[in-house]
């Protein structure tokens, strides 16, 4: 079975660096530059995307709005929020909204991989393994 991870970030640099940090893990990285692309990818890879990494500050649809879409359309997908600026209120709001983790850039590789693995383990609880 394939293991996919979806990154939603408007900055290509950030998507690139996350991809680099996840090299060597079992995850194949899918990239979306905005919420619309992310929803398309989620439709196509509904079963295999195990974790979503989502930026907060984006033009058009913000991270807060994107997370709320994901929670509605794919309530079992664990979401890791990645922000450029630590804001406790924002973190609390996201955790209340049910996100798996809240990380502040820059994140070291080891920490990101651990967060992704931990989030993915909760996803596995919902995925039927042999269908």
């Amino acid at each position: 079975m394939q293991h996919h991870l979806l990154i939603l970030d408007d900055e290509e640099d950030i998507r690139t660096v996350i991809r680099r940090q996840l090299e060597g893990t079992r995850f194949e990285v899918l990239e979306a530059a905005d919420a619309e692309q992310a929803m398309d990818i989620l439709r196509d890879y509904a079963l295999t995307v195990e974790v979503i990494i989502c930026d907060v500050r984006m033009p058009k649809v913000s991270g807060v709005e994107a997370v709320s879409y994901f929670r509605q359309s794919h309530p079992t997908k664990p979401i890791i929020v990645l922000t450029g600026f630590p804001d406790i209120d924002l973190a609390v709001d996201f955790m209340k909204a049910g996100v798996a983790d809240f990380l502040v850039k820059p994140v070291e590789k080891e920490k990101l991989v651990a967060a992704v693995e931990k989030a993915a383990s909760t996803h596995n609880l919902f995925v039927p393994t042999d269908v």
Binding site: I14, Q21, R57, P59, K60, G84, F85, K109
Partner: protein
């Protein structure tokens, strides 16, 4: 003759009918006559008063002083009124003290010097006056109380205003810091991840690419910090020159027209006669450039950007209107925030209008925007007209 016979009776009648007390006192201070009104006023019968020292009518506390005054008056008698300006007390037979007004007139009866005193009971008047005074005092207290309350309200208002300003300042700093955080942490993250990859990379071409990327992102952080520090410096308002705003618009337009996308848009501007303001030409050019540029980007193809200058006695205004889709209500407050942008990451870092606002404020001007959220936006920048010191 009949008149003469009656005159004493007539006089008696008149004197006893007077509502004022009338008293005649001899040189020795003894009472020789009292009319009916006086006798009634003090609660005596006539016989009890005749032959008594006048001090019988004075409260004990004032007797000595009265005697001295009476003796002094006898030495230098002249008509006078007592107790009109100040409180002057008399005492009734029953011991009640009451305020009186007294008129004194010296006279002579068969070579004996006497004093005629008219006495008016002013209890009623005093009490009215007292009531009035108390009323006035109460009014004054009320006024003072209201003044204190108003003052307290003013102080409280100033305190609240100050607190609001502080809160606004903190919010502005918060916005700025979060913007800086984002703008610096993103490239920093890229540098971190790329350096991690570099450590494990053995291919020399890949290593070179990673190194170049790291250097480029370090430069990006440095540029952000440089940009900010250039406009965060407060009060850098020296070296202002007298410049013509029309020249500034013309120069900004020249630069704008060379920028990408400008040829797809109609830019309308009618040059006005010289308008003098005090400022830095390059900074003001940047203000107009940034706003016009935003207008062009908002329009898309076949749009129109119109620039107008207006002047009155005190200020000069430049309006830049575009035919773009307008700015929604929810964004109007944020457009001047640092790092606020609705464009993609490659089209600017969201500092344009923040910088514009900082420059305009530094020049003593202000900027606002008008947009119905559907069609078109007008930014208006106002500056004080410069005093040219001519003549």
């Amino acid at each position: 003759m009949q008149h003469q016979d009656n005159s004493e009776q007539l006089l008696q009648l008149a004197v006893h009918a007077s509502p004022s007390g009338i008293l005649i006192v001899g040189r020795d201070g003894k009472i020789v006559f009292a009319n009916r009104a006086l006798v009634d006023m003090f609660g005596y019968v006539t016989d009890e008063l005749i032959g008594e020292a006048i001090e019988i009518l004075v409260p004990s506390a004032g007797v000595d002083a009265h005697r001295r005054h009476r003796e002094a008056f006898a030495m230098n008698p002249y008509p006078r009124v007592m107790g009109r300006q100040e409180h002057f007390d008399a005492v009734r037979k029953n011991g009640d003290v009451f305020p009186v007004e007294i008129g004194l007139r010296p006279g002579e009866v068969i070579n004996e010097k006497m004093v005629v005193a008219t006495v008016i009971d002013i209890t009623q008047r005093k009490s009215t006056e007292d009531r009035l005074r108390r009323h006035e005092e109460h009014l004054e207290e009320l006024v003072e109380e209201r003044t204190r309350a108003l003052h307290a309200a003013q102080v409280e208002k100033e305190r609240v205003t100050e607190r609001l300003i502080q809160t606004e300042k903190l919010a502005a700093i918060g916005t700025l810091v979060s913007g800086i955080g984002h703008e610096i942490n993103n490239p920093l993250y890229f540098i971190l991840g790329t350096a991690e990859a570099l450590t494990n990379e053995t291919d020399s071409a890949a290593r070179q690419r990673y190194s170049d990327e790291i250097i480029e992102h370090c430069r990006r952080i440095a540029a952000t910090v440089r940009n900010l520090s250039q406009y965060a410096r407060p009060g850098a308002s020296h070296n202002m020159e007298l410049i013509d705003l029309s020249d500034v618009v013309a120069a900004a337009l020249q630069t704008v027209k060379r920028s990408p996308g400008a040829d797809r848009v109609d830019i309308e501007w009618t040059a006005k006669p010289a308008v003098a303001i005090r400022g830095k030409a390059e900074e003001l050019q940047q203000v107009l450039f940034n706003i016009i540029r935003n207008g062009i980007q908002a329009c898309g193809a076949n749009g129109v950007v119109r620039i107008e200058t207006r002047e009155d006695d005190a200020e000069v205004a430049v309006s830049i209107s575009d035919s773009g889709p307008g700015i929604p209500e929810s964004h109007r407050k944020q457009v001047f925030d640092p790092f606020f942008t609705t464009k993609g990451p490659d089209d600017g870092e969201g500092l344009g209008l923040y910088i514009v606002q900082q420059i305009v404020l530094k020049h003593g001007g202000d900027i606002d925007l008008d947009s119905d959220g559907h069609s078109g936006t007008t930014f208006t920048v106002r500056f004080p007209v410069a005093e040219t010191n001519e003549g």
